[in-house]
């Protein structure tokens, strides 16, 4: 089992991991290391990993370096910056001050690398680290906790609402490299921000293991976008774990377009009156395996959650959607709704879905709906009868199916980038950009 190899590899790095001089952090890392040593990476025997097999990771050894590299990044990176955002760049697992764009960030807002945060704001890191993970504890999380090399640290103080979006840009440049980051995002009461996490890399094989913990204090509002456009050969594990206090709002949009094997987890816990929206679009082409795993815990009354996911699977791609809504005892007046629509465009494509409801309170309104199908032949025919070619008609309808999710993006700069990317994923689509 290569968990041992990873352990061995990291043994030599232990000394240079950030926060080693802090006993509280060393202890957390030690516990996580023991857990990872005992169980390794998750296997399909675990119910939550039933449809995603990461044993491929065990055949390869993705290597992390001990310190930030100086590799030149190609001009391709420019495509991933949001023009109107402050950007924190994490390159190959380390905060890159040179590539980051943080000029003009208000003085009371913190946006920096984790190593720096541990140096300058150790108390704040201690409060946030692990606070949104709850009981989450599979092998990837243990691995991340034990060995994260850096990450982003963002804190928005009480009542501050940022005028421009913030971006965390995760970049991988080294072949067979491993970027293992832990990022922390804290919004104090009544704070608000639009945060975009982008994952991109050079066209080669590498592994991203990123965990983002988010804490939303009372009445805070976060619009969070995950824009995953990793290389087609990349392995991606990205977990987002959120703790929502009273009346906070978490509005999430998840676009998974890249990676050979990509697993996203988005889990949130809602306190009284908190609200959460999860919108997702995943597209699988070639031999991609795309797994989206969401979980919404309604722990207190009056919470609202709405979830809409769309999946498109073509070629030999396999998509997985696992959505779970748990309404805990006492979480009365919960209103939870989940919807998942999936298009299978090829006979070799596959979708596995597990929409689940666990309800332990009675005065609730919960529902889920799931559909698997193909393009509406009637619509294809209609377009054909208006002179559109069969292939183009199919592509148009497929694009329209995806576009419905793209249109929900509130950030114009991002919406444009996502749309471009989508269009590029349908190279022969015949879709004219000026139609959009």
């Amino acid at each position: 089992m290569s968990a041992a190899q990873y352990l061995e590899l990291y043994q030599s790095l232990t000394e240079v991991l950030p926060g080693q001089n802090m006993p509280w952090l060393s202890e957390i890392r030690q516990q996580a290391r023991e857990k990872f040593a005992g169980g390794g990476f998750p296997t399909p025997r675990e119910e939550e990993w039933k449809y995603t097999n990461v044993t491929a990771l065990e055949k390869k050894l993705f290597k992390t370096s001990a310190e930030p590299g100086e590799e030149a990044v190609g001009p391709w990176l420019d495509d991933f910056y949001l023009a109107d955002a402050w950007t924190v760049v994490l390159m190959d697992g380390f905060f890159s001050p040179g590539l980051s764009r943080l000029d003009g960030l208000p003085g009371n807002v913190i946006a920096c690398g984790m190593t720096d945060a541990l140096k300058h704001h150790p108390g704040r890191v201690k409060t946030l680290l692990g606070s949104a993970l709850g009981l989450e504890a599979h092998g990837f999380i243990a691995f991340n906790t034990a060995f994260f090399s850096d990450g982003a640290f963002v804190e928005i103080p009480t009542g501050v609402s940022l005028s421009r979006p913030l971006q965390i840009l995760h970049v991988s440049t080294r072949p067979e490299g491993l970027a293992n980051t832990r990022s922390l995002v804290g919004l104090a009461a009544n704070a608000g921000v639009r945060l975009v996490e982008t994952y991109a890399g050079a066209q080669q094989a590498y592994l991203t293991a990123a965990v983002t913990e988010i804490k939303l204090a009372e009445n805070a509002g976060l619009d969070h976008y995950k824009w995953q456009v990793e290389s087609d050969q990349a392995h991606h594990f990205g977990g987002i774990y959120v703790s929502q206090e009273r009346s906070s709002r978490f509005n999430q949009h998840n676009f998974c377009l890249g990676g050979l094997l990509a697993r996203t987890e988005i889990h949130t816990e809602l306190a009284d009156g908190a609200e959460c929206d999860m919108n997702g679009l995943f597209l699988g082409l070639g031999r991609q395996h795309v797994d989206n795993h969401t979980r919404i815990h309604h722990r207190e009354p009056n919470g609202i959650s709405r979830e809409t996911y769309r999946g498109i699977l073509a070629d030999r791609a396999r998509g997985v959607f696992q959505g779970r809504i748990v309404v805990h005892p006492n979480a009365q007046k919960t209103n939870a709704e989940m919807n998942s629509h999936n298009l299978l465009l090829s006979d070799d494509a596959e979708i596995d879905a597990k929409p689940q409801l666990e309800i332990l309170a009675d005065d609730v309104k919960c529902s889920h709906g799931l559909a698997v199908g193909q393009l509406d032949e009637e619509s294809v025919f209609f377009l054909q009868s208006r002179g559109v070619g069969h292939e183009t008609a199919r592509n148009m309808l497929t694009f329209a199916f995806a576009q419905a999710m793209v249109e929900k993006i509130g950030l114009e700069s991002l919406r444009f980038l996502v749309q471009e990317r989508l269009l590029n994923r349908f190279p022969q689509s015949g879709i004219r950009r000026d139609w959009l």
Binding site: Q356, L370, V372
Partner: protein, 481 residues
């Protein structure tokens, strides 16, 4: 406490109405399980060597397996060595006619509300009653024989129709299919065997009443129904058990085989003892039911009303092998007090143009947990497969749980799968409205619950539908908002 809440309290504190023990002499093996026990069971039943070997193989396989624990149920470890694996009423000679049957036994049936005489006279239902493990009375044999239908106990079938049993037994649920199925294969006591010949429409509905009677005896029936090409049969199964302090294990296996154009309709009303309100006693109902739509245009339809048992672990499934075959699953599962149910179905689409429908209605009250767990799997070969699933849960009171765990796996692009699920409680508005029209809270709840279950009840044969409604009444007698 509002009037509605008081009503729930009253309703959910109701006791099991069918708890009585028949004082019959029975022939029971001492507790424990080993190869010797299996040999004794096989010998007592005068089985051929191949049957014994089949059992022993299953037993050896069982020893290598572990009990499944993935269901949303919680119970202490089962001591398999403390269970007696065989219990038969001490019959001198098998009764030939109803009036030769032990009158006490008939009395028991009367208490259950299924007097054989009356059924014989009124309903025209052939009843093969399994009392603890051995068939005691079979009626209407002659009429069925005329049509060429074989309807007998499994023991008889092994003796008289060994070729059919050998051909089909374990062909749908292999001996080592799962932990409980393997245990059943090793020790099954008796059960029903049905064979409908080609082109025959079974002239009456076939019915079996199961009832667990002796203390500490697991009941392991084995049922096998074979419907030859273009035949039709409707089979009814009802289950109750008297009140016992300790949990009793019930691990049955039902296998259905539908050949080309055949239709099998299998209906169950299960009212085993659910345990008392603190969760003491009650049946562990770990059942494997599976139908194989082997031929094209065949159809298997499962309808179940589950109101009893402390724990229900049951997933009547359909293998849709034949092109254009149809699988259906209609279920009402009601849990009250501390009952736990984890039930649902598997629809495996293999053939082209196969269709499945799942309608599941879960009702949870008291401190009960009720889960729907279902798999819809569309293999690559299943072009144009269609599935529609509707799972609705109704909650009564705020200490119970209702869960939905569907699994959908699709490998065929032309498939269309729709799944919908809702969870709600009986609305205060609905309840108030009914009471404003003069109905008592109990009647109002009962009416609303029955309305909630209607789509399933209409799939039941008439007599069963009436009984199912009455059962919901007993288990809940309406309920709340």
């Amino acid at each position: 406490m509002s009037a509605a809440e008081q009503t729930i309290e009253k309703l959910i504190s109701q006791e099991y109405k069918q708890g009585f023990v028949t004082d019959l002499e029975s022939d029971t093996l001492p507790p424990g399980l080993n190869e010797e026990v299996i040999r004794i069971i096989s010998a007592k039943k005068d089985e051929p060597e191949w049957m014994l070997q089949w059992r022993l193989e299953a037993y050896r396989h069982w020893l290598t397996m572990t009990e499944p624990r993935w269901a949303y149920v919680d119970y202490p470890p089962i001591a398999y060595d403390a269970i007696s694996y065989y219990s038969a009423p001490k019959a001198k000679e098998g009764p030939k006619k109803l009036n030769e049957v032990d009158p006490k036994l008939l009395e028991t049936y009367n208490k259950l509300g299924i007097p054989l005489y009356e059924q014989e006279r009124l309903a025209g239902v052939a009843v093969d009653a399994v009392f603890d493990s051995v068939s005691v009375a079979t009626t209407f044999k002659d009429k069925l024989a005329e049509a060429g239908v074989i309807f007998c106990s499994m023991s008889e079938a092994i003796r008289h129709h060994p070729e059919l049993v050998r051909q089909y037994l374990g062909s749908v649920v292999p001996a080592g299919d799962n932990f409980f199925a393997a245990l059943n294969s090793a020790v099954f006591s008796d059960g029903s065997f049905v064979y409908i010949p080609k082109g025959v429409r079974c002239p009456m509905e076939l019915s079996t009443y199961f009832r667990i009677n002796a203390a500490k005896t697991g009941q392991f029936e084995r049922t096998l129904i074979i419907a030859e090409e273009r035949s039709y049969v409707s089979y009814l199964e009802g289950c109750t058990a008297p009140m016992r302090d300790e949990n009793q294990l019930h691990a049955a296996v039902v296998e259905l085989v539908a050949l080309e154009g055949a239709q099998i309709k299998y209906s169950t009303v299960q009212n085993w003892y659910p345990g008392d309100e603190d969760g003491r006693g009650g049946i562990y109902n770990f059942v494997t039911k599976r139908g194989d739509c082997r031929g094209a245009h065949s159809k298997i339809s499962w309808t179940q009303v589950e109101t009893g048992s402390a724990i229900t672990w049951k997933y009547p499934s359909c293998l849709l092998r034949g092109d254009h075959s149809i699988g259906e699953f209609y279920s009402v599962a009601l849990t009250n007090h501390r009952q736990q149910a984890d039930t649902g179905t598997k629809m495996i689409h293999i053939g082209k143009n196969t269709k499945s429908t799942i309608i599941s209605k879960g009702i949870s009250a008291g401190r009960a947990n009720n889960s729907y767990r279902g798999l819809v799997k569309v293999l690559k070969s299943a072009e144009n497969a269609r599935n529609h699933t509707q799972c609705d849960s109704l909650l009564i009171g705020d200490r119970c749980g209702a869960h939905t765990f569907p699994y959908i796996e699709v490998k065929q692009a032309s498939a269309r799968i729709e799944h919908e699920a809702t969870t709600s409680k009986i609305g205060e508005d609905q309840l108030f409205f009914c009471r404003q029209r003069g109905l008592s809270a109990e009647d109002a709840v009962s009416m609303i619950v029955n309305g909630f279950c209607k789509e399933v009840f209409k799939e039941l044969p008439m007599e069963f539908a009436v009984e199912a409604q009455a059962l919901l009444g007993i288990s809940l007698e309406g309920s709340v908002g």
